[in-house]
Symmetry: D5
Subunit: 154 residues, 10 copies
């Protein structure tokens, strides 16, 4: 299996930290090593935090990304650093979640993409946001994310 598709990367195996803002964060891509098949890649990130634009207080979310690669894969360390770059970013939940999805679509040019943010409750009521680029292509397998709905207590 071709190791060389990772040869140009700037961040993998380096010790640099995350960018200070999402705008500065650079997602890196590698060549799809299995271009003859349509398959789904899922990344699960339970360690996401940003700031509330109204109060400046921290928000937290559990994120799940599903996509069908086109010509490239997103490199996982650069994805992690991209998510970390929201640490001091102010964002509304709906806008932030869909915005991440839209940016990934624009940069990655995947065949299909689904992205969800499962936000922690504020005022006793959590928000979940579910975005995708449209119906999944025929014949590709996309399991449910099955992150539990918020339960409260008891």
């Amino acid at each position: 299996m071709a190791n060389s598709i990772y040869g140009e990367l700037e961040q993998l195996g380096k010790t640099g930290g995350a960018a200070q803002t999402p705008e500065e964060a650079i997602l890196e891509y590698v060549k799809n090593p299995r271009p003859d098949s349509d398959y789904v890649v899922r990344f699960t990130c339970p360690e996401f935090t940003s700031l509330c634009p109204v109060t400046g207080q921290p928000d937290f979310a559990h994120l799940v990304l599903d996509y069908i690669p086109g010509e490239t894969l997103v490199e996982s360390k650069s994805l992690k650093l991209f998510f970390q770059s929201f640490r001091n970013h102010q964002a509304f939940h709906e806008d932030c979640t869909v915005g991440i999805g839209e940016r990934l679509v624009k940069e990655m040019a995947p065949k299909w993409l689904r992205f969800a943010g499962y936000w922690y409750p504020r005022g006793g009521i959590p928000i979940d946001v579910f975005y995708q680029t449209g119906a999944a292509p025929e014949g590709v397998w996309v399991p449910e994310q099955a992150v539990p709905t918020y339960r409260g207590r008891g």
Copy 2:
């Protein structure tokens, strides 16, 4: 991301409480910040209470709202206060649940909406009510709510 869409709000960041009745409660809306995508927003409210029209005794429910925004998002604090306005309201379970759904549809003009009430048991038998405006639009992702069916004991 545009903070300004929240600039006209009356309730966000204010200390006023809930209206005394659902009729008096005012849902506020902000401009959909991502109008180019169809996505689903889910609010989960496990803290709902109203009164039984027959006995006057309190009823409780766990509510879940899913919708695809049209031109506006419902602002989450006003939604919370709207739910709180049922505290002294007398309502049958089926009527109350569908009625909330219908009002949200009328006011929000969402592209699609789903609303469920999972009521606590009375007489050993709980009622769940599942309402939606019709089939979800093609290509939009709507995960199951997956609130557990009532189990009894054992």
Copy 3:
């Protein structure tokens, strides 16, 4: 919301008990308060018992009813008393479950109905019975009942 639809009921708020047989039990109906929407009502009854026609010994089941109201709703207390009227009734599992579903369909004239009995094991093997009147109408939301399949031990 119209309280008056409950005005004619004989059993709600009364202290009379269940009928002695299913044949004698009377299901009561009220006007559908939200006739402009198609929605699903779910009743979950984990407290059902009847008698085995062969041995006379008690059987137990966990029942779940889903339906889309037509012109009427079934009143929940009369439904509870109807279920209780099977206490001294002898019934095979398949026949009993489908028979309840068929009777509800005949009396209620719902737009659609689904009814399941999850029976306790006999001879180490439980029976579940799943009945519905046909495919659910387009555009109506019917979540899975998701009652766990029998597991045995371990």
Copy 4:
């Protein structure tokens, strides 16, 4: 292993049903086949029903019995028929649960006994009753029953 300890039984392998009342029900006993060891026997009965003394309506419970045999074991079919004999019996939850425990103690003369009733909710609030004859003897292993506490909805 001695089959003969079962030779005197009246109910095992017979087709007779349950007695009509707990008072008429006869618990049968067999000789403890392992009298040199102190061990715990657990019976779990999720199929128990009696009647409410105030309303006459059915009550349901999930029962768990733990005991350390003395000279005898309770025969399991007679125990099942004993539990079935409550079907038309009127009983308050606390009284009924402790009463069953006390009767089993009196008749069985076990070295130790624990008995719990996990009743289905009435008025939205279930009652659990936990009875035992005292601290378990030193050196005997008594796992927790771990029946889930009532959860409500959500």
Copy 5:
């Protein structure tokens, strides 16, 4: 079993609602029908709501009561109405939970009592309060309440 211990009750089987304040609410007691045994009675109430003293907004809690009766049992309907009387009461979580426990102790004179409030999150952080009158008496069985610790999302 003695039905007569319930003969003096004012609220059981009556249609009166809850008192307007906890101070006005009257807990009723019946004679312990099994005074020769020490046993535990557990009531689980997932339907509790009060008001925040600072903001006036609703708070919710899941309550669990365990006690060993002395000469009396608390009657379950009067307990339900007592819990309902907090609906318009302003209370801090720690104070409210322990206060309910202390009042029950004072009025019931139980041999032992344990009371917990599992409050819904505020500011993303829920409070649980665990009160008991001291170590449980030797030889009495008190299973864990095992209400799940708050989990957040993911």
Copy 6:
């Protein structure tokens, strides 16, 4: 409900044991008591054992059968005895599971049938086998079996 459909049975209520081989086992059928409805019957058997054809060692499986009756129902005791007849039978997992399904189809002539074997792991890797006669008929409700996928440890 017609008890008479059970009148011809040889095994129900008799004390005979299982046949020595699947070939000798006789499945008995009764008339479908609800021929006007299409419904699903599920039998769950967590107590199945056969022998490995290579090593002769015992194998175990958890079986679940779903079918839509045609003119007959399979009688549950004869089904139990049929499953027990594999106790000394040597069978590969795939062949055995599909073979049971095929035999039931041939004998029962159901409108549709689904049969699964969830085998215990050998070599650290369990096999599950999922058989059905084709797509379920339109309008019939077939819930997922939802037996958990093997998990290993941790």
Copy 7:
């Protein structure tokens, strides 16, 4: 680590099957490789079957063994074959479970032993049997087996 303690074994790595009866089954032992520490070994066997002495029908159980080795360990393949030797053995649940425990104690001479059988339900009521040789020695860690109590349906 000394492989040689396994050198004398007759069954490990051989292809012989289980003995035909428990009496003929031979448990093999190896030298405790860590005699300076007191530790617990747990074997979990969800694949156990024997025969009912009354009806001759199969019984099933989930077994868990915990012990603190003395001078020897029980070799796991011989333990598996010992459990398999009950396949055609007739046994009452209480007697069988405690009998296995007592035999293991007699042969292994462990410092301490705990053995449980979690039997599948008969007549709707399963039996669990919990045996141990006495209190675990001070300072040794014995986690709960935490096999779920039988739940029934729903």
Copy 8:
């Protein structure tokens, strides 16, 4: 119940954000409203983040605090802001967790305190840290925190 104990607080109901460092963060205290009882207060914070001292990358933890108040309660909003002040703080897991516990002990002077950090995995291996001031006082009830041990996948 005395509202006045909250009268002196600087942060409750104010809009100021978290301090920039733990050193600057000020925990506020109110008078224990129930000084005659020993009870436990639990705060669960699943939204904690700090920085790794070696790599500067974000760490995340789920925190649970249990304590028995002495003369004061910690005010919950100031506790939340204290936890938020670690957002840009560099901390090793063991040191950070125990350090928070020690500071709370020093400032609050509780009768007893327990504090745990359940950190997200690094290198595939998560660290949990469990600190308490000693054995809980006799007669006080301290339920297990029961946060699940890390599971990995499958």
Copy 9:
């Protein structure tokens, strides 16, 4: 059932270990014993490990294979040895998972195949990869794999 289809196998019942590389590993096939039915075979392997191509450190995955046999079945021991042959193989997650799927397709010529790898987290973010050969054929039953999405802590 035909034992002879296993007669030509080289690895089943032999003591040889796994090949040193996936390239050297030989998957063996047997004739489909039920060629008249389309059914699904699932293998679950929670014991998979390979090496990271960048760091050389071990990676772990939970694998699940579903396929509809054509003329052959894959023999389970050879499949186990094939999975073991990755022990010293360096592989990126996406490439490795899809590559295994593609090889199985090429060699087995199944009617349909689905293969998933659920990898353990690296950098706090696990990758799942979902591959299939296209939509499952009409009328074949393919249950969800339902391996839980990664949860993190809390």
Copy 10:
């Protein structure tokens, strides 16, 4: 908090891989940063593999370590590399698990240590091994590891 305690480490932040054998693996230690408190550190490692001494085939385990530090903490990366060094090591389950515990005790000189291996099943029966150095010191909090007991299927 003192970063300097990590200054002497050879492996943290370096790219060297695991040693080839446990004997060669070097565990590194840092000064206990909180020597005035007795607390428990838990490491959970679900990614452990070694080789069977009889067959040479891979074994897998889920490991959990709990200890109370004395003068030092074990550095987590060196612990990870130590666990990885068993990859080509042949080990019996009981011996390997207790041996790791004994080595950690000898090298770390903790105040107390507990170590468990939860091994994947072989022959359908998994082995768990539970080791500790004796009773935990008074006043230190050691939550249960609560790794689920093996369940089999169903």
